[in-house]
Amino acid sequence: MNKREFLKDAILFFPAAGVLQALSCQAQGKELSASATTGYDQSQHWYGMGIDVDKCIGCNRCVEACKAENNVPDEPYFFRTWIERYTIRANGEVTVECISTKTAEGRLAEQNAPVDPSVLRTFFVPKLCNQCAHPPCVQVCPVGATFQTKDGVVLVDEKRCIGCRYCIQACPYGARFLNPYTRTADKCTFCYHRVTKGKLPACVEVCPTEARIFGDLKAKEDRLVRFQRANPINVLKPDLNTQPKVRYAKLDGEVR
């Protein structure tokens, strides 16, 4: 074989090998890895979210952005993310409310209410699916419609979900609901359609105080990783060993 023939064969060989590999993948029913088509490799990421409790001002924009971005029904029974307000009084009494179920006017009226001297402190806590590393919802799904992606996001395949609602019962955080239109389980996806394109989840994008920090726990220089290093971190219901990837900074012990 002379040099010219070798180069000609090599030029043919490499693309042909690629085609053959793709065909064999298809024959085995496997999908081509995302990196082969879009340059995105799931195995290189492990997503999480940091919540800086002190920074949340309870403006509810994240909730509205989430509903708009993800077609979440407007009615106050369906939320992929919501905001809770904790009011702690001098006598130790704790009141918790979900401000996201209130109307905008209702929230404004509360903001303008006179200061109650018995209140020691109040704070807001954004809630969403904790994207657990050890998710009980995935464990119980009878048909495998809810699953964890390689990059650590728990998703629901709405074409496969049978609507038995076992996952809703198994979630300790109340993060799931049955979508009344699709009749399938619904939950936060970390805006998977956005983050796999390098964008931020809608709730993070609109937060005016940067109370939500989205990031990749596999990337050492990531903002979320730095946030975790710099703050005392807690997760919700750690005793259940769900290993949440939503990490709260300066979380009060009253929050469940």
Partner: protein, 406 residues
Amino acid sequence: MSGTVPAGLYEQLAHQLSQVTGFIYPNEVETHWSILIVVYPYLTGIVAGAFILASLVKVFNVVEVQPIYRLALLTALSFMLIAGMPLQLHLGHPERAYEIFMTPQPTSAMAMFGFVYLWYLLGILLIEVWLEYRQQLVLMAQQGHGVMKHVYRALSLYSTDVSPEAVAWDHRASKIVTIIGIPSAFLLHGYVGFIFGSVKANPWWGSVLMPIVFLMSAIVSGIAMVMLVYMVLSLLRQEKLDMRCLDKVGLFLLVAIIVDFALEGLDYIHRIYQSEESIKILGQLVSVRLFTSLVIIQVALGMLLPMLILALVRSKRFNEDMRKLMYFTSVLLIQLGIFSMRWNVVIGGQLFSKSFRGLMAYKMELTGIESLTTALVLLALPFIILTVLHHVLPTRWMEERGIPAH
């Protein structure tokens, strides 16, 4: 968004929201497992309990129970045929239910239940009933006329051999199936308990005792149901009840209900003594939302009172009529109690927030798929099936009914 919102959903949710006390997570307003999921363990429990009663005759040779052996088997089969229906009707996508069998997720308790259910129906109950009736089916096919002749031939699967050897083989095979059937019946209802007991997110459900509590309550409900059916059937036939049989079954029922009470009591004592984080909200749940259905109906009327009556039957010398009345009252109360127990587990577990800070409410719909009407229809269907089965497969031998066998 595709699809339409089920009629009346938002009205139901608005009403339930208005009944909330304290703080709940916003997605918790909806009661995800409705009355149909209450009916499901109630029906399944009767299947397991009735089969275990039948097995007393076959495996443990309790001859006194022989008169209701076939009735117990047919009761188990009738309830089994309907037991899966409430689950099916409850699904958001019933047309995808087959996926549980096609692509089951091995880690899911619910996925595996589909196989346990099928195994019990096809591998145990149908075979057991067929073996029990084969000889009689052949004889009835020989003596029958018209359509029924063909029905009986088909039901006997066109077998014709009624020689003593063949019949002896039937008995041996039936005994083996029953021996496999007992752990299978335990598995069937223990598994239903596991579906709830394994949910760590819900402290009302998540208990290691749940499978065994479900199993014992299943045995109680199954025995009581067969007794009830036997008494009603004898009344309709205007036949004399076999008091020896009734007294024996009554004794088993008393033992079962004592064990059931002890287990449930242990569960409550354990919870109260351990006094974990959830104890305060569970206390509120019982005192505010479940007082009538749990304390009064389930425990006082459905458990303690029948236990007392069944014990009294044994300790004092009552005449037959009085004993019949006492048994009848007990089994009715037990059915009420066990249904309440299923309600208190399934609905009760969804009436407190997983934030442990508030209580929800459940407003049962009167009409629609997940409604009281559907539940009543599902509860009535096993009795209709039992009536039909009882006509096709008589519970007494032909000689007993005055028909010569040959």
